[in-house]
C-alpha cells in the first residue's frame, strides 16, 4: 500500500488491497457441502436413527413375566420326543397295556413351580380303553434336555390293576412354558396331546401377554388441513421496491396434509399412559399476496392479472399484482406425549392426549409465481431446518376382537417456531386440524 494513489484510482486501490484477502472457513462448511452433494451418503446416519427407533419400539418386549417357549423347545414338544424315565416303566407299561382292555380315560393336571420353569404333572387314569398313553410312551424314548416325562404310580401294582381294572398314571412333563389350566379332554395319542398342549400354551401365552404387559404399539394416519398464522410481512418482504405502496392483502389457501407415524405406549396406570415414537408429516399450502400497485398499473395499462385473469380497471388507474407461492415440506418428528382416559368401559374408551414433537425438515419445495419481476420470493434455503410442534387430540378407542383397538378423533397440531429462519422477516406459524385414525395393539 506504500504507493501513491489518486482519487481516480480509488477502485484500483480497493481492488489491490482486498484481492488477496483470505479467510479460512470452518470444516463444517465443507461437510455441509459434501452432504449436499452426496445425499445418498447420509444413509448410514439415517439407518442408525431407524435402528434406534426400532429399538425403542421393541423395548416393551423384554422382562415379561414368563419366558417364551424357545423354538427348540417348541420343536421338542410338537414332535413329542418324550423320554420314559426308566426301562422298567416301559415294561410296566407294556404290562398295563396287555392287561387293560380299552376303556375311557381322563387327564388331570396339577402344577408345580420351580425357579426357571414349571412342571405340569399330568395324571391319567388308565382304564380299559386307553392304551394310547402307554403305547406312545413306549415309542418315545429319545433323550431331550428340554422335555422330560417320568411316570410314577404304576410300579408293581399289577394286583391292584387286576382287581380294579384301573390304573392311575402320573406323568410329570417339564418344559419352559406357562401352564394354567386343567387338561381334562380325552386324547387319542400322546403326540396329539402334546400338540394340543403346545397349541393351548401358545394361546395362553398370547392371551396372558396381552393382558399383562404395560406396553402397546400404535400406528396412525392423520389427514388434515393446514392454516397459517403470524404477521403478513410476506408481502413487504417480497417487495423491496419502495415504489410499491402498502395496500395489500394475503389470501391463504389451505392444502391437504398427511401425517403418519408409530408410537410405543406405556401404561403408567389404568387411566394414564405415556407414548413416544416416530412420525412423518407432509405439509402443503398456497399463499397469494395481492398488492394494489399504482406503478404496476401504469406499466400494464390498468389491467389486473390477479389469478391470471385480466379485468380492465381503467377508471381506477391501479392494478393488482399477485405473488403466489406453493409451499410443501417433508418432516420427521419424534413425538413424546401422554394420553389420559377420561371415561370408558370394557369396549369403548374416551381419551385426551398431547404431544411435543421435535421436528426435522427433511425436504421442502417452494414454487412461486409472481407478476412482479423485482420480487424476492421465499425459497427452501430460508426455511428453518429444525422446528418444534405440539399436538393435542381427543379420541375414542373401540376394542375389537383379538386385542386390537381402533382409535379415531380430531387432532390439532401447532408449529411453535416460524417456518423461516429468524433473520428473515417472514413470521409464519402453521397449524393443522385433522382427523387422526389409528390402530393400537399390545405387544
Amino acid at each position: 500500500m506504500a504507493e501513491q494513489w489518486f482519487d481516480d484510482s480509488f477502485e484500483e486501490f480497493l481492488k489491490e488491497t482486498t484481492n488477496d484477502f483470505r479467510m479460512y472457513p470452518d470444516k463444517k462448511v465443507w461437510y455441509s457441502i459434501y452432504n449436499n452433494l452426496h445425499p445418498g451418503r447420509k444413509w448410514p446416519s439415517v439407518s442408525a436413527f431407524l435402528l434406534f427407533a426400532i429399538s425403542l419400539i421393541y423395548l416393551g418386549q423384554p422382562n415379561q413375566q414368563v419366558k417364551p417357549i424357545s423354538s427348540l423347545n417348541k420343536q421338542a414338544v410338537s414332535t413329542s420326543t418324550l423320554l420314559a424315565s426308566t426301562d422298567n416303566i416301559g415294561k410296566e407299561l407294556t404290562t398295563i397295556q396287555e392287561i387293560n382292555p380299552p376303556l375311557t380315560s381322563t387327564h388331570t393336571k396339577e402344577r408345580k413351580k420351580t425357579s426357571n420353569y414349571q412342571e405340569n404333572i399330568i395324571t391319567t387314569k388308565v382304564t380299559d380303553d386307553n392304551p394310547y398313553f402307554v403305547e406312545e410312551l413306549k415309542k418315545k424314548k429319545h433323550t431331550n434336555p428340554f422335555l422330560n416325562i417320568s411316570l410314577t404310580g404304576i410300579a408293581g401294582e399289577r394286583e391292584m390293576i387286576e382287581i380294579n381294572k384301573e390304573l392311575e398314571l402320573k406323568a410329570t412333563v417339564s418344559y419352559l412354558t406357562q401352564e394354567d389350566e386343567n387338561l381334562n379332554s380325552p386324547s387319542t395319542t400322546m403326540e396329539t396331546k402334546a400338540n394340543q398342549e403346545i397349541q393351548k400354551s401358545k394361546e395362553r401365552k398370547s392371551h396372558n401377554t396381552k393382558t399383562k404387559t404395560p406396553f402397546a404399539y400404535q400406528v396412525y394416519a392423520t389427514p388434515s388441513f393446514s392454516f397459517r398464522s403470524g404477521n403478513d410481512n410476506l408481502t413487504s418482504a417480497t417487495l423491496p421496491d419502495l415504489n410499491v405502496n402498502d395496500d395489500r392483502s394475503i389470501i391463504f389457501t389451505p392444502g391437504l396434509n398427511i401425517e403418519t407415524g408409530a408410537n410405543v405406549l406405556y401404561n403408567l396406570s389404568s387411566d394414564f399412559r405415556v407414548k413416544a415414537g416416530i412420525q412423518l408429516n407432509y405439509t402443503n399450502y398456497m399463499v397469494s399476496s395481492v398488492v394494489n400497485d399504482e406503478e404496476f398499473a401504469k406499466t400494464t395499462g390498468g389491467y389486473s392479472i390477479r389469478g391470471g385473469a385480466s379485468h380492465n380497471f381503467d377508471h381506477l388507474q391501479t392494478a393488482f399484482s399477485a405473488t403466489n407461492y406453493n409451499s410443501n415440506t417433508y418432516q420427521v418428528s419424534l413425538p413424546l406425549g401422554a394420553d389420559y382416559k377420561i371415561a370408558g368401559n370394557s369396549f369403548l374408551e374416551w381419551y385426551a392426549g398431547a404431544t411435543i414433537q421435535p421436528t426435522l425438515i427433511t425436504g421442502a419445495n417452494i414454487s412461486s409465481s409472481t407478476s412482479q419481476q423485482n420480487n424476492v420470493n421465499p425459497d427452501e434455503s430460508m426455511l428453518r431446518r429444525f422446528n418444534m410442534n405440539g399436538g393435542v387430540e381427543t379420541f375414542l378407542a373401540y376394542k375389537i376382537h383379538k386385542g386390537l383397538i381402533i382409535n379415531a378423533g380430531p387432532q390439532f397440531r401447532y408449529q411453535f417456531l416460524s417456518s423461516y429462519q429468524d433473520k428473515y422477516s417472514y413470521d409464519e406459524k402453521l397449524y393443522n386440524i385433522g382427523i387422526k385414525l389409528g390402530i393400537t395393539t399390545r405387544f
Binding site: W5, E11, T18, F21, P240, V376
Partner: protein, 192 residues
C-alpha cells in the same frame, strides 16, 4: 492436482477433486463473501451455497476465462441473492436511511493492515457496501448492479458515490489514508 484434473474430476463428481477445488479456492471466496455478509457465519453460509452451485454447474464452465473468475462470479451472485432475502439488507438499500449514518472512529477495528480495509468496507451500510463491492472490487457496471439488485441504475451510481465518500472518510479517520489535498489527491499513509 492441476486445475484441469480438478475440473475433470469435479465434472465426474469425484469427491477428492471436489475437495481439492474447495481447498484451493474457498479461502479467497470466503474473503469475498465476508465483504458482503453481515458476519462470518453468514459469509460461510454464502460460501457453502456458492460452492454447491459451483459443483452443480461446473459442467457449464467453458474455459473461456479463469476458473477462479468463474467461481468468483457465481459466489458473488450467490451473495447478492442471499442478501436480497435479508430484511436488514432491504432496509439498507434505502438511501435516505444510509445517508444519516455516522461512523464513529472508535468503532473502526484496530487490526492488521491487510484486513483493515476490508473491515472498513464492512462498516459501510449494507446497501453502500454491496454497491461498492460490486463496482469497485468485482468490476460490475452500474447497469449490471442495477439488474442484480433490482434497483435503478441511477440509484446504483448514487449509492456508490456516497459509499466511496463514506469509505474515504473512514480510511482517513483510521489513518490509513491522508486527508485530501487541494488538488484532490489522496495518499496512503506512509507513502513518500
Amino acid at each position: 492436482m492441476t486445475e484441469e484434473q480438478m475440473l475433470a474430476g469435479c465434472i465426474k463428481e469425484h469427491t477428492a477433486s471436489q475437495e481439492a477445488l474447495y481447498q484451493r479456492f474457498s479461502p479467497r471466496m470466503l474473503g469475498v463473501c465476508y465483504r458482503f455478509a453481515g458476519n462470518r457465519e453468514d459469509a460461510e453460509d454464502m460460501l457453502q451455497e456458492g460452492f454447491i452451485k459451483v459443483y452443480t454447474q461446473i459442467h457449464q464452465f467453458r474455459n473461456e476465462g479463469s476458473l477462479e473468475g468463474w467461481i468468483r462470479r457465481i459466489v458473488v451472485h450467490t451473495c447478492i441473492n442471499h442478501l436480497k432475502k435479508n430484511k436488514k439488507f432491504r432496509e439498507s438499500v434505502d438511501l435516505i436511511h444510509a445517508s444519516h449514518l455516522i461512523i464513529r472512529p472508535d468503532t473502526i477495528p484496530s487490526i492488521m493492515q491487510a484486513k483493515q480495509v476490508v473491515e472498513c468496507i464492512r462498516l459501510l451500510p449494507w446497501g453502500y457496501r454491496t454497491v461498492l463491492n460490486l463496482y469497485a472490487i468485482e468490476g460490475f457496471s452500474h447497469r449490471e448492479i442495477a439488474q442484480m439488485l433490482e434497483i435503478e441504475e441511477s440509484t446504483s451510481r448514487s449509492q456508490y458515490t456516497r459509499a466511496k465518500a463514506m469509505l474515504e472518510d473512514i480510511l482517513i479517520k483510521k489513518n490509513i489514508l491522508s486527508k485530501p489535498r487541494s488538488n484532490r489527491k489522496l495518499s496512503a499513509v506512509g507513502a513518500h
